[in-house]
Amino acid sequence: MMMKEIHSGGPAAVESEIPEAFSGTDIENCYQCGKCTAGCPVAEMMDVMPNQILLWVQSGHLDKALRCDAIWYCVSCQLCTTRCPKLVDCAGVIDVLRQLAAEQGITAPHQQRIVAFQRAFLENIRRNGRLNEVELIAEFKTRAFLKDFNVPLLMKDSLLAPKLMQRSKFHVIGEKVKDRGVVKRIFERCMKGE
């Protein structure tokens, strides 16, 4: 009885603010030890530390978590998930945040280049079934250029092309799967509503 009374006061109210999309990540177990941040290889480049992002999601400040640059700087190396003493899937939490941000069209200015890359990647797979690197680079650079008109980015790596050709690593005509119809249908079914 005693337990129930205590529970109905504090923590339960906080837990209920965690959106359904995070179920399976065990984010409610986070007790802010900071081990995720301590091991994160890109924490020093992030505007917010990974443990802060977890706290925001836990405490009903999802909007802040969706808008930070950090979720796009994450390189998905899984170190945070691996080392969490409370078995929270921290990298999984970041994935959910990126999915929600993408669905809602939320992207802070610094993240746009990375989002543009991921979108160009998926678009390429939808069309070909397999990745065509040359097409991806062209598409990414166009998308990024139209966003920030950054000429150095547009020209960067142009010296790489001949070196790749020399090594037979440059495939202008990429592989395509035979059954591209099924790939398109898989995308349609998965991206319904987006």
């Binding site: 890109v42 999915q99 990375i114 990745l131 898989i186 998965c190």
Partner: protein, 290 residues
């Protein structure tokens, strides 16, 4: 003769075709036969799990379904991004009957989650360390390698259940059988930035520079990887790293299959080592024939 299903993934059919060449030459020499999954599709990689959860299950699941249909119970995926995505999707499907039904409809093939996906290290383990040792023609006595695992070969351990995620040792064991030695160092499981090479190059250069510098500081004369993205970041981008940080690393980066192949008596060309960007010391590697 051993047989395995084979999922090359986009990288090995793209700019990491030297990795595929190396894997195939090496496995040919070991009498391992690979059956490529018919009309396989991309696993979706980071883009799918960053942008659309359902796609990140469905894309790998289509490939698992192809493997199941064709009776391939064990599938080699030499790219750890692919193998992780295939293993993750397989586990989810295994646990959840409703998801199996939904995904089977989405991918237009029945999928149960019955496929065991293995990485390249696991394949060599299946061949057997003793069998490898017995097949060595040119012991790699001059190799002192930093074995680099990066992220996705061992992480997340709950999903992959392979080696020790903080102190892995599986590559070192294989190198020892080849007559090579390996160094103890600090960056074996640190991330190189993986697929962010294009989207966020600054991060990749910074992380990869630390990895190269640490390997050299601990006396390594090469790095060994079992991942196409690690190879791109440490080998192809090495010149950019040197320029960015004003350093000179000049460190060879081998795929694990390169070293196994060299020890088996194959040459650099057969293994595609001549296609690497940093080619500094192949002549010194192989010593007297056994």
């Amino acid at each position: 003769m051993m047989q395995f299903g084979y999922y090359p993934g986009c990288a090995l059919h793209g700019s990491s075709n030297d990795y595929e060449k190396s894997v195939r030459a090496c496995l040919d020499a070991l009498d391992v036969y690979l059956m490529e999954l018919e009309d396989w599709i991309c696993c979706g990689a980071t883009a799918a799990h960053s942008l659309n959860h359902k796609l990140s299950v469905a894309l790998p699941a289509r490939n698992l379904a192809i493997a199941e249909r064709d009776g391939l119970s064990e599938v080699l995926a030499p790219c750890p991004m692919c193998s992780m995505e295939l293993i993750k999707a397989n586990g989810r499907l295994q646990k959840d009957a409703a998801l199996r039904k939904e995904i089977s409809e989405i991918v237009e093939l029945n999928v149960e989650g019955k496929t065991e996906t293995i990485n390249l290290i696991q394949l060599f383990q299946k061949v057997g360390v003793d069998a490898l040792r017995a097949a060595v023609k040119k012991p790699l006595e001059n190799i002192s390698a930093a074995c680099y695992y990066g992220c996705l070969l061992t992480r997340p351990p709950k999903v992959l259940q392979f080696d020790d995620c903080e102190r892995p040792h599986s590559m070192e064991t294989i190198l020892e059988a080849l007559g090579a030695s390996s160094v103890t160092w600090n960056y074996a499981t640190e991330c190189c930035g993986a697929g962010m090479t294009m989207a966020n190059e600054a991060t990749v250069l910074d992380l990869s520079n630390k990895i190269l510098a640490n390997a050299i500081a601990h006396g390594a004369n090469c790095i060994v990887v079992a991942c196409p993205m690690c190879h791109i970041n440490l080998d192809m981008k090495q010149a950019d790293i040197e320029r960015e940080f004003g350093v000179k690393h000049d460190l060879m980066v081998y795929y694990l299959s390169d070293l196994v192949g060299l020890a088996l008596g194959l040459d650099e060309k057969q293994l595609g080592i001549d296609k690497h960007f940093v080619v500094t010391q192949p002549k010194k590697i192989a010593t007297a024939e056994r």
